[in-house]
Assembly symmetry: C2
Homo-oligomer: 332 residues x 2
Amino acid sequence: MKLATLKNGRPDGQLVVVSADLTRFVSAGRIAASLQAALDDWAVLSPQLSALASQLDASAISGQPFDPAHALAPLPRAYQWIDGSGYLSHLERVRTLKGSKDEQLQSTWPLLYQGGSDSLSAPTDPIVATDPELAVDFEAEVAVIIGAVPMGATRQQAAAAIRLVTICNDVSLRRLVLDDLQNGFGFFHSKPSTAFAPIVVTPESLGAAWRDNRLHLPVRVEVNGLLFGQPNAGTDMHFDFADLIVEAARTRNLAAGTIIGGGTVSNRHDEGLPTKRDGIGFACIAEARTVEKLKYGRARTPFLKPGDSVRIAAIADGRSVFGDIDQKVALA
Amino acid sequence: MKLATLKNGRPDGQLVVVSADLTRFVSAGRIAASLQAALDDWAVLSPQLSALASQLDASAISGQPFDPAHALAPLPRAYQWIDGSGYLSHLERVRTLKGSKDEQLQSTWPLLYQGGSDSLSAPTDPIVATDPELAVDFEAEVAVIIGAVPMGATRQQAAAAIRLVTICNDVSLRRLVLDDLQNGFGFFHSKPSTAFAPIVVTPESLGAAWRDNRLHLPVRVEVNGLLFGQPNAGTDMHFDFADLIVEAARTRNLAAGTIIGGGTVSNRHDEGLPTKRDGIGFACIAEARTVEKLKYGRARTPFLKPGDSVRIAAIADGRSVFGDIDQKVALA
């Protein structure tokens, strides 16, 4: 089952069911007023949504043409957005940037940060920066939306709570990261609105691409139309989504509709840029710059400037599974 | 106008208007399905809520007896909870505990952290800890709920966006603070669910107690029935709520329904515990312990143990303005 949220002038948008090939949609408004409402009563409502999806896929309902430009983030505002760090090679590459110390600790327990979830960006929203000198970067990630998870949950409870899978762009203002982390209270100004792909998919509908609580697909990133990276999200993910959920629930309950990010997708390699057609590359600029510093003595790849674009998609059989995140940088 | 959210078996509860003396309520369900729904359309709905409140106060509507034990947090789940640090004496007293370095920086820009907002505790919910050794502490704070604020907002825009005022208990697990801050990603495990008083009040209805974007009332804290502190929230608040909102909106929009905390209420003095009847005392245990270490060479006041209780109220003319937060520590 594939779901999306379309713009309707209201903060929560309109929940729709999207056909398996992403070409058509039908409103799910008779079943649930919003994706959050569906998540609040998932046991009752998801079979109804699923039945509607089957009818749409069988063309028993013709539906309407699906245009991702009309999509909001699947949850345009969420009660919680927690970003984890599943990929150690991302942490290793950016550690110097973040002034973070304890290497040992970070590979024993996954790092998490509490992100802002009050206004999540649509897949084609601009990345708005107040200053072109803030070192705008993207971070291509896999994210899951979960049902309620009790404090102290087991891995099994955590895995069973995964309702939907998608990808996101955890926009980062690198120039502000150090200030945020040095003041001791964690990311804040350096992490403006995270953008999401238009489509969320149930784990079952991902088939073999979803296994071991990981998404086994390349996440393809293009900057200004050029391939930047296509690391596989199922490779080198040291902490899987069950680990991240267990860690998040250590001292608290997690409400239905909580979004958990897996961290910047990152594979171990030491190729520089430009990324070759069959190369791996990077899912954020900061990692590329670190590798360049080691290889060439200095970072070559600039951060994003106003007018630059970034496109992010998870690819299966040559197709974009969740639809594309396609953002342009703009000045406020 | 005074509002509350009553338990009705659903995550967002039932919005009610409460009489000025907090004794009676009437459902506001015909005006707005929830407090968040009211905040989403505040310009249209708040006059209707206000008219209902006037009818209730004039006894044109009799209403039903208001029992705070039936209240949820006013926003039982919110899209954002940002906690600021308005009171420098709190930061100074706990700085050693938090391993936070830059004193100068902290008095120039207010510190903020992104808190979990997916499940905010009701005023009488237990404080549930998974381990009695986590050093459970309270932090009595003033909080405001705001309308939408654009990125880069001015102080004037920020002040005008303050819709509602209340108090909260930013529960802290002191034993986990250092780990959270040392990993560099900020508070997470050390800040479980924050609890809120039952009542939110519009700034206008607070009269002279709300001025200069501060609440000029003592916030009274009792631990196991004994006075622990009653610092005045309007005194020594270096950064007011407009400052905190401006800072929060530096690189992002803030959605309607965002809750901003003013930080642990803290007044400058060097009295130790026990707090005398006319003393000032403290709004968290950590501060008391720091003062004790300086005065007596060691901390005397223990953190909360299972079975201990904490009661927090803002007091005007001997009455609890927002109703009491009244929590007991329990083991998970």
